[in-house]
């Protein structure tokens, strides 16, 4: 069983939804970012999504765009992101790690090398926003052959006819994008999300996590009632931006502030079904 499978199975036994956090690797710098990453599991994070910064994140809203810019400015590279995973794995061999980003940095790194290095570092899965099923030969097929999960986004525009194509090569879990729009932009309609998740679950055994507009503990709790996982990105990333000094470097209270925001979201998710 993969780390992702194990984690979802354990949570299912407890009748809990998984709390999935998104942070940008290297935001605002390597050391701060790694320290925060290490503190996430204890704060209640079940799966860590780690963003790979890119200059042109076409599906992201302002909060995550700025996080990527801070990371790039701080010297983050794809290699350093993989180094972060390696460092994290020295102290935690159980929390699943999913890398999320855009294709170009991977393509430039070299697909074969990237897969081998990610695997060796202890990465469990990949979400690559600009690789739809139509481009599966690029990365999805070789990554899965190497034992990495390829987690696909399903969206409100993915209709019944298209859904099987989206699910075909998906593994790990399905990531349902709860809004048409960019990360952090709108608020999802829980009713519609519930229906969409149910429709996906009719076609697959995989767990379904929901993200893209979830920003408060209340919303997280509502989503946790209808989905197997709740993904929160922009809200956490915003709490990170708030914990920076005007000049840029993190405040002394950075870690405490961010972890406290994460805990509220994680607890709401865990308590939702009680």
């Amino acid at each position: 069983m993969s780390r992702i499978e194990k984690r979802f199975a354990a949570l299912k036994d407890k009748n809990q939804a998984a709390f999935v956090s998104f942070t940008m690797a290297g935001d605002p710098n390597y050391d701060t970012s790694l320290d925060l990453m290490k503190a996430l599991p204890k704060a209640g994070v079940d799966i860590i999504e780690l963003g790979m910064p890119f200059t042109d994140p076409m599906a992201d809203g302002p909060a995550i765009q700025l996080a990527g810019q801070r990371a790039i400015k701080g010297g983050q590279t794809l290699k350093k992101t993989l180094d972060m995973v390696t460092a994290f794995r020295k102290t935690d061999d159980e929390t699943p790690i999913v890398l999320m980003g855009y294709y170009n940095p991977i393509f430039i790194h070299g697909v074969e090398d990237f897969i081998a290095n990610a695997k060796a570092a202890g990465v469990d899965g990949l979400i690559v926003v600009d690789l739809p099923p139509e481009e599966d030969d690029e990365l999805c097929v070789p990554a899965r052959a190497a034992g990495l999960d390829f987690i696909r986004l399903a969206t409100p525009t993915t209709d019944e006819k298209r859904l099987p194509k989206v699910l075909e090569n998906t593994s790990g879990f399905v990531y349902y994008v709860s809004i048409t729009g960019i990360t952090g932009a709108a608020t999802p309609d829980e009713n519609a999300v519930g229906k969409a998740v149910a429709a996906i679950k009719e076609k697959t055994e995989l767990p379904v996590a929901v993200g893209f507009g979830v920003s408060t503990p209340e919303q997280a709790a509502e989503i946790a009632k209808v989905a197997d996982g709740v993904v929160v990105g922009s809200a956490i990333v915003r709490s990170m931006a708030d914990a920076l000094t005007v000049a840029g470097p993190p405040k002394k209270s950075f870690q405490k502030d961010v972890i406290s925001a994460v805990k509220k979201l994680a607890n709401a998710t865990k308590r939702a079904r009680k």
Partner: protein, 405 residues
């Protein structure tokens, strides 16, 4: 990376939207159903006599096509070599080739029942063309433009406003054309129901590169006929400037299988391709994936996209249409670059010799013509795509020349 030459250079893209390894559909899942729908709608429209007839009618009566093919006698004499002809797309309504493509896409949008049109623009020419056609058809128009470009292309910003468009200055990233395109894509992901994204060049995900090329090919087909009429034969050399590559592809495509025609694309060399400040993606970049397709890009070792630089806002883009990338690797088309300074010299030369104020974009093409024409025989023919007029650029040029207006 020269592959075996195909039987024809005019058959691409394949069903996956690829020109060799370039092109493709690298978009978020939210957009995937939309570009598939667009592809179907375009393929249907293409077959229909009525679609073509409507477009041709508007090209003639609204845009002013066919654009003339003009023999430039004083330029020819001054350069002392090949005969120089200009394909005068700068005479089109709105002052550039951009409207050829916009008309096609907006007619398609209307067929698809879309009511809101979005576009990205750099120099503002594509934005103006889009705002114009939207005004004509009573469609809502939103134009994304980098905040830097809003500043340096003020006349076009005002024109778009007069035409009823909403201009959104983009401050994300580094506030130029690339960021405007990101922002337009973000808008499209958000407003999937009623919105049509009218892309201004032969880039973006399939089917855009092929569709925009088809609409712009009117330039090349006309030129082919006009040249045969004027000289009884095809030109020896074609030259066009390249931002994303739409005016160049429009001129080149009908000639790609005419092996005797030498074809040259001119990129913006900015302050020199050996500096950090240029926009020559083919000369100074390498293949990568951005804005929905694989193509040559200006980028660093980590795959982060670099900002382009050119005196011409319309050429200031770190990528290029995927079909050009393929034509480069196949060695069917030559790609060269010209610096800001060389373009400025050609700009004044054209004003003084032919009484034509060119846009800074085709001034790049003319600068290359000025380099090669003197070395050619007097009975050889050189055809340059004069794809835009320079009214929009007079402030930039005045500043570069140190003149106050």
């Amino acid at each position: 990376m020269t592959a075996h030459a195909p039987n024809s250079f005019r058959t691409g893209p394949d069903e996956k939207g690829r020109f060799g390894t370039f092109g493709g559909r690298f978009v978020a899942e939210t957009l995937m159903p939309l570009i598939l729908e667009l592809e179907t709608a375009y393929n249907e429209a293409k077959q229909e006599r009525s679609f073509k007839a409507e477009m041709e009618n508007l090209w003639r009566n609204y845009v002013g096509r066919p654009s003339p093919l003009y023999f430039a006698p004083r330029l020819t004499e001054h350069l002392g070599g090949a005969k120089i002809y200009l394909k005068r797309d700068e005479l089109n309504h709105t002052g550039a080739h951009k409207i050829n493509n916009v008309l096609g896409q907006i007619l398609l949008a209307r067929r698809m029942g879309k009511t809101r049109i979005i576009a990205e623009t750099g120099a503002g020419q594509h934005g103006v063309a889009t705002a114009t056609v939207c005004a004509k058809f009573g469609l809502k128009c939103v134009v994304y433009m980098g905040a830097t470009d809003v500043e340096r292309q003020k006349p076009n910003v005002f024109r778009m406003k007069l035409l009823g468009a909403e201009i959104v200055p983009v401050t994300s990233g580094r506030s130029t054309l690339k960021d405007a395109m990101n922002e337009a894509l973000r808008d499209w992901v958000t407003n999937v129901e009623d919105t049509f994204y009218c892309i201004g060049t032969v880039a973006g995900p399939h089917p855009y590169p092929a569709m925009v090329r088809d609409f712009q090919s009117v330039i090349g087909w006309e030129a082919k006929g006009q040249m045969k009429h004027a000289e009884g034969r095809l030109p020896d050399v074609l030259v066009a400037c390249i931002g994303g590559g739409s005016n160049a592809m429009g001129l080149f495509h009908p000639f790609l299988d005419d092996a005797d025609v030498r074809i040259i694309g001119v990129e913006a060399g900015g302050k020199g391709v050996d500096t950090e400040e240029h926009a020559a993606s083919l000369t100074g970049g390498r293949p990568g994936v951005l804005h929905g397709n694989r193509t040559y890009l200006l980028q660093d070792e980590d795959g982060q996209i670099k900002e382009a630089h050119s005196i011409s806002a319309g050429l200031d883009y770190p990528g290029i249409g995927p079909e050009h990338s393929w034509l480069k690797d196949m060695e069917r088309v030559e790609y060269v670059s010209v610096t800001d300074d060389e373009a400025l010299k050609a700009f004044t030369l054209c004003c003084e010799m032919e009484g034509i104020i060119p846009a800074l974009e085709p001034a790049h093409a003319l600068a290359h013509v000025a380099k090669i024409a003197p070395e050619m025989e007097k009975d050889q023919i050189l055809l340059l795509n004069m794809c835009g007029r320079g009214d929009k650029d007079i402030f930039t040029v005045a500043e570069a020349l140190g003149t106050e207006i």
